[in-house]
């Protein structure tokens, strides 16, 4: 399998990676050496790993291969650092009513679509967090989400969503899909769930997706089981996680939670409409082997879109179809520019904003997770 840009050569690839070395040094390491030796090693490993990943992408011309490994590692280490942090602060992964009243809930980006209508009509945020909490405050999270969405659209789902990384990790365990025939109508389900949660959240003034449907509560924080209601919620979270994030990705080789359920993914798709970057298929080079259609992790290519030389609105810009296309007919594209010309420029211009975010947010997760693991190895405990 070769990618369309081919091998760039060490020198050219190195030069193209130089700005990333500087950006990550400033944004990931804050441009200064870490004084604490216990933090130095994880920070150094993170910095090297992040930049090695970017270099491999640029040098080989393969996007998805390296993005995917990075993405999965980010999600694994996110879970390690997040849970360790929760236990350090609260002593448990459980979220009690008292924690909520204290505004101690970190804002997950998945909540954002549910906040809009109540914020517009009541000028309040229907989430039990704090605006400027040290850990995932509401305001910084909204700014971060807005910046990334404008810059890369639904690229969010393939470049920085730590939950998507879990889905992707399990889908990669599938060598040969056991389920290949998935009715196209299910790709509308994320939009239906989005509509449902936005309306119910507005009516109830509470984030209903978090309360009832989020599969990732299983591996992050979940309401303390204090009643039949919270027990039922726990059963739903666990069932959805096992079904959508573990079993179905293994059986289909696709990201079923992201492509067939996640309302935030559907919401992010709207930003693809205004985003300058897209993925395009060169119809002249395409031989209709439909490998892209069969392998797209988020079900974002169908017969019609293939014929039109486009991906669907839900495209996460992961680059898998680009890497896998045997005719190198698929490429990153900048809207308004001639199709399939200056592919390298379009790819680099896309990779820089996408990977900068991934490096800073994902790099933070990698560093956080590694630091906990090193602490465990050195002191026998992940907790301070």
């Amino acid at each position: 399998m070769t990618a369309f840009t081919g091998n760039l050569g060490w020198r050219k690839a190195g030069l193209l990676c130089l700005p990333m070395l500087i950006i990550t040094a400033v944004l990931l390491l804050y441009g200064k050496p870490l004084a604490d030796p216990g933090k130095l090693l994880p920070a150094a490993i993170t910095y090297l790993f992040v930049n090695a990943t970017f270099f491999c992408m640029i040098y080989t011309g393969q996007t998805n291969k390296y993005r995917s490994r990075f993405f999965i590692l980010v999600s694994l280490l996110f879970v390690v650092s997040f849970i360790a942090n929760l236990i350090e602060v609260r002593g448990t992964m459980e979220l009690s009513t008292a924690n909520m009243l204290d505004g101690e809930t970190p804002l997950c980006p998945l909540v954002i679509p549910m906040l809009i209508i109540p914020a517009a009509l009541t000028n309040t945020i229907i989430f039990p967090g704090s605006f400027f909490a040290a850990h995932a405050g509401i305001a910084p999270m909204i700014v971060l989400w807005l910046g990334f969405s404008v810059a890369v659209g639904r690229g969010w789902c393939s470049w920085i969503c730590f939950f998507g990384g879990m889905d992707e990790g399990f889908s990669r365990l599938c060598r040969k899909p056991k389920i290949t025939d998935i009715d196209k109508k299910w790709t509308a389900l994320p939009w239906a769930v989005l509509l449902g949660i936005v309306l119910t959240s507005a009516v109830t003034l509470s984030p209903t997706y978090c309360a009832w449907l989020c599969p990732f509560k299983t591996v992050t924080e979940f309401p303390a089981i204090e009643s039949v209601k919270t027990a039922l919620q726990a059963v739903i979270f666990t069932s959805l996680f096992i079904g959508l994030v573990v079993v179905l990705p293994i059986l289909t080789g696709r990201r079923t939670q992201c492509g067939l359920f996640c309302p935030f993914g559907a919401f992010q798709s709207i930003f693809n409409k205004i985003n300058i970057f897209a993925v395009r298929i060169d119809r002249a080079a395409c031989v209709d082997c439909k490998l892209c259609l069969k392998q797209c992790p988020t079900f974002s290519i169908d017969e019609q879109s293939l014929q039109a030389g486009k991906t669907l609105l839900s495209c996460g810009k992961c680059g898998k179809c680009i890497d896998r296309c045997p005719r190198q007919a698929i490429s990153f594209h900048i809207k308004g520019t001639p199709l399939h010309v200056n592919r390298l420029t379009a790819r680099i211009l896309f990779l820089y904003p996408a990977f900068t975010f991934a490096a800073v947010i994902g790099g933070g997760c990698i560093y956080g997770g590694l630091e906990r693991i090193f602490r465990l190895l050195l002191t026998g405990s992940m907790i301070h």
Binding site: F127, G129, L205, I276
Partner: protein
């Protein structure tokens, strides 16, 4: 270069500026966002604004406004939150009479047992429904009482 191409490439480059601006200016933009919009945490979580403070010397009782907020208008049921602070200075038992609608009449009496974090509610107003819960928070103790709207 055609004009759409020029705009395309320029916008693509600008996206990197957006990314760097977001990451470097996150703190600034976050504060601007909240100060410009005046957004607040929903009173269903925060308890709503404090409308009365009763000073008991070593500790204070903070009475929040009654919360019936709905998306538009008001709900049929709501709550009022009563805080006791600071936790370290609280006596073993607190007995507080509350006028939640600020009409000059006592609406309920709250007997709060600090050590067991439990309370007994005596309602004088038919709009007072029941005890919703007692909570140990970081900086205070809180009790919520369910209410009916008029």
């Amino acid at each position: 270069m055609r004009l759409p191409s020029f705009f395309g490439y320029t916008t693509a480059v600008l996206m990197m500026v957006v990314v760097l601006g977001t990451l470097l200016g996150m703190n600034y933009f976050s504060h601007k966002l909240i100060s410009a919009t005046g957004l607040q945490i929903s009173p269903w979580f925060s308890g709503g604004e404090i409308v009365r403070t009763i000073d008991h010397g070593s500790y204070k009782t903070l009475q929040h406004r009654a919360v019936f907020d709905a998306l538009i208008g008001q709900r049929a049921e709501g709550f009022v939150q009563i805080d006791f602070s600071p936790p370290a200075a609280l006596p073993d038992k607190i007995n507080e009479k509350i006028d939640f609608d600020l009409d000059g009449k006592i609406d309920f009496n709250l007997e709060y047992d600090v050590s067991s974090n439990s309370a007994v509610l005596t309602a004088y107003n038919p709009r007072v429904v029941s005890l919703s819960g007692c909570y140990v928070l970081k900086e205070l103790r809180a009790v919520r009482v369910r209410l009916k709207n008029e």
